[in-house]
Amino acid sequence: MRNYRTDKSEEEFESADEGSNNGWTNSIDNNNEKKINVNHNGAVSENNTSLVQITNDLNSVQIQKDIIKQTPLSDTEKKNVASASTKDWSIWPTFDTKTGINQKTNDRLNSVSLKKDPQYQDSSSPPSSSAHSDNDSSSLEEKSSDRYLNYQQRKKYRKNRCDPNNDDSESNKVTTRPSRETTARDDKSTNNIKKHHNVHEARRLLDHLSEQSPTRTPSWGQSWSNIGSFLSNAKSTVNTLKSSVSEGFSAVIESVESSLGAPDPEQLAEMNRMAFKIKGETSDSETEEPDAQQNQQDSVTNQGGWLSSLSIDKITTTGMQIVSGSLDVLETVGKKTFEAINEVDPELKGTRHLLKGGQQDSVTLSEIIRETQQQGDNNDLSKSNHNSITFTRLFEKNQGLTHLEALESLSSQASIKVQTFDYRNNELLEKIAVYFDMENDKREDDSSNNEAMNNIENQIPNIDDLSFKFTTYQTQLRSTVSMDKVLEVYQSAHEFIKEWDWMDTALDQKTLHDEAIDCLAILCSHIVEYYRKTAELFLMGCKSLTAFSVDVELLKLFQKQQIDFTNMLSGIPILFAKHMKHINNVPSNSIKNSETPVRCAVDYKHQLITDLFIQSTSSLTYAHDAYCLLKPVIQQSIIYHMSAITTLNDL
């Protein structure tokens, strides 16, 4: 595929221009051009310009070195720059029309809401004759091709700066360039050549390298073709990046040469290959190909092999800088690409369509992720079907999360209101907030109830006590929100234990455990519901003075009530755990009349009890969160009533 394309571009190039001095660079550009043209032309070339800027920075190190070492050559360098630009202009007609055509194809595609167009797909390799025949380009096309021209020029300029001797050696290279690597290697080898000014040696080296290259083509090329048309513009930018970073690597080589004496070309080739593998790995990681990983491992071991014999520090630090630099460049390229695409196509409809059309036979990252997620989901599902009775699931099932969500939205609305209030109310707000800070009370509780806590019975609140307390709170608060549901659940939990003669079997223990969590979930959901309704009551009370509200002093009742809720929630697991432990004795008594009841394994029982307590903590958290969410609502209500009363008094 790749070779085919290169050949094609070569033909085109040769037909267009016989001055093959810049042959290989041009063919690369042709390649790039083709790829770029697949997607939005102008945008991507803009991208490339910025990329070139970045990579130029990367190259500046090298260029400086070049200048230092080869001051006599700087004249030729300049010449080359000048000559390259003129040469470029002689080639432009070819590029111009081609860009125009492709741009047109794109435009047409856009206009027909990006229907799948066979011509569009073929546009990556259009017959050169038609490319020349079509010559009318709109102003828009000209603009984009201008931009592209600019980019090409800059690119060529950079290339020429990198190898000032290309006039001497380039003519030999046109024949062999199976992959991008070779060009990079050529690039580097020209650096070698320019030292010796020996054309013959250059030829020998090149031949040597070109012999090696086919066997050394690493798998990144294949993996790229596997990706298919996945953002081919990204591909082109990455390709450009690759060549530029390889130039960065040749800078390292230069410095190594100067300090340690030149290593032989084979080692250099090895190093370059390594560089490609590393880069291939970073860019190919999306495809998650195992052989890519293997490649990296290979390259790492190679690194240890010959690098250790050289000055490791120098190479590794510079190498790391370049690799990390190249990653930065990749990131910038990605961001820029997204921006560019977004500019042209804000809703990404076109791009999506493109991706959809092109991806029919290739696997994409998102598909892989989705599949993995589905597998994970299936696993979770099968697991959950077996044994997971989680509090959160039951809490959601009992609408607890919905109540909490509603309470949250009320609370956030109220807190926005509270923030707009006069700062004079700050004192009052803090006074109210104290009642919602449960941490202080817990400490008090701990110290005062320490003895009582030792007795397990005291940790399980009595139902009658609770119902009496709640009735008192309600009358004092004048609240119309019913507490019955909360008490009902608590009572049913107690009854559940009594209504059956539980055995110490795994089944019974599990049933008790599940029931305890179910009770917790229902109780917690009712508590959250209670708070939600209370919040609604307060907010509805903000409509008129006669409506519901409370005095600051009465907030103590809410605090007490919350403590009772907490005790209830922590009482349930204690109650069940106590019972689960207690029924330990039951089967031992019945063992004489039947051998069937299999005792529950102690480990399993402990596991169940531990799980129960762990799950109960989340219920406490939910209840506490709900209570805290009430704070801004009450603050709003109290301040509304206070200010309303003072204005009345003023009147």
Partner: protein, 208 residues
């Protein structure tokens, strides 16, 4: 999919809670406690092979409801059912003001379905079907006449609303990853084939 619903006012019931009960429990309860604040109902439905949980918020009438509650509850809704009673003309007359409020406080993309409830009581009909249709056309709503008592069109009303929301998700109008819209990609559930399980929240608006 979550569907919040507004239901019923004090004293003048158009049957929002009854509609919800019919949809979630498939039963009709003629005598109903008055809704205070908001009640919830949920039901799983399947659209295009995807399991969707409709979470319906059954709220009090918007006129009775405090402004504070109104903005809080209507903000995170993906759709709403706006219910009037075909036997009470004034419930129909309130629609305009309700619609204004709803559009003001909610997501502009919210799917709104207009429902003329109690169509079993055709003998006492005060609002003609054509009037409802005209109103819906004028304001870009979907229209349907239902009966919570006979369960006529109840399923269709909820499911069509859900379908409309689902369509908007597909079009990219609603972003299911953004919970502000009231749509949530649910946790893994019974449908391994699709993986995507959008939940959306729709509000059922009651008007009387």
């Amino acid at each position: 999919m979550l569907e919040k619903a507004t239901d019923r006012s004090y004293g003048m019931c158009v049957g929002k809670s009854c509609l919800l009960l019919q949809f979630t429990d498939k039963r009709f309860q003629p005598v109903h406690d008055l809704t205070i604040g908001v009640e919830f109902g949920a039901r799983m439905i399947t659209i295009d092979g995807k399991q969707i949980k409709l979470q319906i918020w059954d709220t009090v009438n918007i006129i009775e409801m405090s402004f504070n509650l109104c903005i809080s509850y209507y903000r995170g809704a993906a759709g709403a059912l706006l219910v009037y009673d075909i036997t009470q003309r004034h419930t129909f007359n309130h629609l305009t003001s309700w619609l204004e409020d709803a559009r003001q406080h909610s997501n502009s993309n919210m799917v709104i379905m207009l429902i003329g409830n109690k169509c079993d009581l055709f003998a006492r009909r005060e609002v003609q079907k054509e009037e409802g249709e005209a109103f819906a056309r004028e304001h870009g709503l979907i229209f349907m006449e239902t009966s919570a008592k006979t369960a006529a069109n109840v399923e269709e009303a909820f499911i069509n609303t859900a379908r409309e929301i689902y369509g908007k998700i597909q079009e990219g109008v609603f972003d299911p990853t953004n919970e502000v819209n009231g749509i949530k990609i649910g946790p893994q559930h019974a449908n391994p084939r699709t993986g995507e399980r959008p939940s959306s929240s729709a509000e059922k608006g009651g008007c009387c």
